[in-house]
Symmetry: C2
Subunit: 435 residues, 2 copies
């Protein structure tokens, strides 16, 4: 086989065979496919597309480029959740303990925040002592002890994805649905899971702004998962306004604990419970979604879910007492309110500028090699449909460094649109794709 | 500027500015644009196209990546010819001395054969002692002495083209009309010429098999030339059957000398005279094409053209007596006839298998680092429209190494199609594009 022939076939709109795709992905490790050949193929894929079979073959080859974790020694169906990323999205911290408490083993491999979006690893690491860099032995140990584990991607998992992701970033080939789907699924399927719940977000704060793109991505990922015999359910959810009220790492841990205590904002709690119920259904611990929902609510009300999270924190080196005494979590030194310029209903609260403001305060990063400030962030006092009075706070910024505070305040102000008409907030869950 | 933004703009079908294109080409020498970024852009250009302005900007930037030869110390308008390549195409050896004898300085930079096509440098180097690797000083000296010079591309000329050409070859991005046009024109316009005659070939033996592609390429190159204030004429010519009767390096030198002696096959002589007349017209040495044609015929009939070629051969180190005594040229040891299987008219004589057969005999190469056998090739005894009798030779193969002779014979046989209907050979010149 020759790379140039494979590139030409895709350039001309042809369909690549599984052998051709496997040979190209294998060429990364073998070293006989040049960087510039892969990037030309990526551009041809972006512009000409890939069939479901091609996307599955690419995912499989990327997955096989590294270790595939064997979790067969654990009884039961292992289920994970993946979100395409948003603002204030801390559902992982809530649903993983819920699903685990409901009897579904949850081996979760998560990512870090980038740009306006947050990442589960950064949030967890705001808990003093919490380690996310476990190796595969540690990963299995915590899963055995707690029924759940939450770590970052290890170097053994899907190295081809790491290679291709870096190249896509530099060659304007990120925005291809087959490439995005293969990147996500190759990592998730290497974790040793039996089932996966996908939270595909759409709206101004999501990677996929348009609903049709989110739907296409959800369908592509479901197709890949099914072609490998995995159980997959996807929810398409609204990411026009942030999820919950808190945005920022330790602030989101606090809000997650409030949810696990039975409190917390309704939109966040509802979505977390629904995703957890889908996990419980895929994990075979309920016969219907309704039964799964009842189970999930029960393990929250009984305190079992929070207890499970406490065990996880301890098992991964974190201070479990910080979940009861939030003053042990990193706290910002200063606060600044953004007040409403008029009285009326919040017509719109755009997620992107809120995420961007949080990043400006230091809670996020623009490049993967940057650190974050776990203490900073913001707390929303009003969301879409809420009535606010002129001069009352819309949002409180928690900051340590005032350098970019003015910019952050301006971003938050721009996110709110106040008007006279009352309105009901839109449903968070837009659609459900299941077998 | 960032490469990723430029790639994204082209990917999305946008138009790049001259500054963006110049920055990308400059990045090759600066080292801040990665190979894989350039190849992604090349694929986006191939699939999304380039406007005339973008193609001109790319050509200009590639031209400026190296030296631009200054020939302003020579009086008169300097004119070159470029052919997109074919089988048996030795017109350069005929028309350059004719145009020079007609008073037009001809600074010609040529290439080598690859695949089924021959190259002017290989043909010239079959003349014992002939050197094509002159530096720019030698180039100017021979031009001053002879009124013409014929060399190979130097490392100083358009290094960005060399870089991009190598990458295009490995990434299936060769077949893009803007990229082909920019590659050809960046080198030609760096030679210091005022005018250029293009011979854009179409047919089974040409790079552009389809007439519409040949026309688009001709138009793109004319547009580039005009945007830089150069005088450009393009002929679109038929490369369905080989030009002339001889194919192979020293054999083509012999046929060229026969043409300069006033003999030689009509199709070859007619095209060479027409291209030379276009050069004379662009060079301002005639007021009309008809007058230019008369001048060209006159310098052939008077022997001035052949005399000019003899001077060139001597000036570039070759043995001028070999032009009178062909036994001094490399001669193959063995011959093999391919005979006609039936009586009838040659309905078709496909150029590609003839070129391929010549390459199999060793006259050509499949990779640029291979040498060629200057002595071998073939001599056609019949062309399209000729009547042949069963058992009479269609073609004589001249060979030294019989290893691939059977393959070559089969290729030659496949090239001929004999049938009962008489037919007139098609005109070689299909169209003319001029200011």
């Amino acid at each position: 086989m020759r790379a140039v022939d494979i590139i030409r076939a895709k350039r001309d709109g042809g369909t690549l065979s599984a052998e051709q795709i496997e040979w190209m992905v294998g060429g990364i490790a073998r070293g006989d496919v040049a960087d510039y050949q892969w990037s030309a193929l990526l551009m041809a894929i972006l512009l000409k597309g890939m069939s479901g079979e091609e996307t599955s073959a690419l995912t499989m080859a990327m997955m096989r480029s590294g270790s595939i974790v064997d979790l067969s020694m654990f009884p039961g169906l292992k289920v994970d959740k993946h979100s395409t990323g948003g603002v204030g999205d801390k559902t992982s911290l809530i649903l993983a303990p819920i699903a685990a408490a409901a009897g579904v083993p949850v081996p979760m491999v998560s990512g870090r925040g980038l740009g306006h979006t947050g990442g589960t690893l950064d949030k967890l690491e705001s808990i003093p002592g919490f380690r996310t860099d476990l190796d595969l032995d540690g990963y299995r140990r915590v899963l055995r002890e707690c029924g759940l584990v939450m770590i970052g991607q290890t170097a053994e998992i899907a190295p081809a994805d790491k290679y291709l992701y870096g190249m896509r970033d530099a060659t304007a080939t990120v925005e291809s649905i087959p490439l995005i789907a293969a990147s996500i699924m190759s990592k998730k399927l290497a974790e040793g899971i039996d089932g996966l719940v996908l939270d595909v977000k759409t709206g101004n704060g999501a990677f996929m702004a348009k609903l049709e793109d989110a739907r296409a991505l959800a369908e592509a990922m479901c197709g890949i998962g099914r072609s490998m015999g995995k159980r997959i359910t996807a929810l398409i959810t609204r990411m026009e306004q942030p999820l919950g009220l808190m945005v920022g790492n330790s602030l989101e841990v606090i809000e997650s604990v409030e949810c696990l205590n039975g409190g917390g904002p309704k939109d966040l709690m509802d979505l977390s419970l629904e995703l957890a119920a889908e996990m419980v259904l895929l994990g075979g611990k309920a016969k219907s979604l309704e039964e799964a929902r009842t189970t999930c609510r029960r393990v929250v009300d009984s305190g079992e879910a929070l207890e499970r999270f406490r065990r996880l924190v301890a098992a991964q080196g974190g201070d479990p007492t910080s979940l009861d005494d939030f003053s042990r979590l990193p706290t910002a030194r200063s606060r600044e309110d953004v007040v409403s310029p008029e009285s009326g209903y919040v017509q719109r609260l755009a997620a992107w500028p809120i995420g961007h403001a949080t990043m400006l305060l230091g809670a996020g990063r623009t490049r993967m090699d940057q650190g974050v400030d776990h203490a900073v962030g913001l707390c929303l006092q009003a969301k879409e449909g809420d009535f606010v009075k002129s001069g009352e706070p819309l949002c409180t910024l928690h900051y340590n460094d005032a350098t970019r505070l003015t910019e952050a305040v301006a971003a938050v102000r721009s996110a709110f649109q106040i008007g006279p008409e009352p309105l009901s907030p839109a449903d968070v869950i837009i659609d459900r794709l299941a077998d």
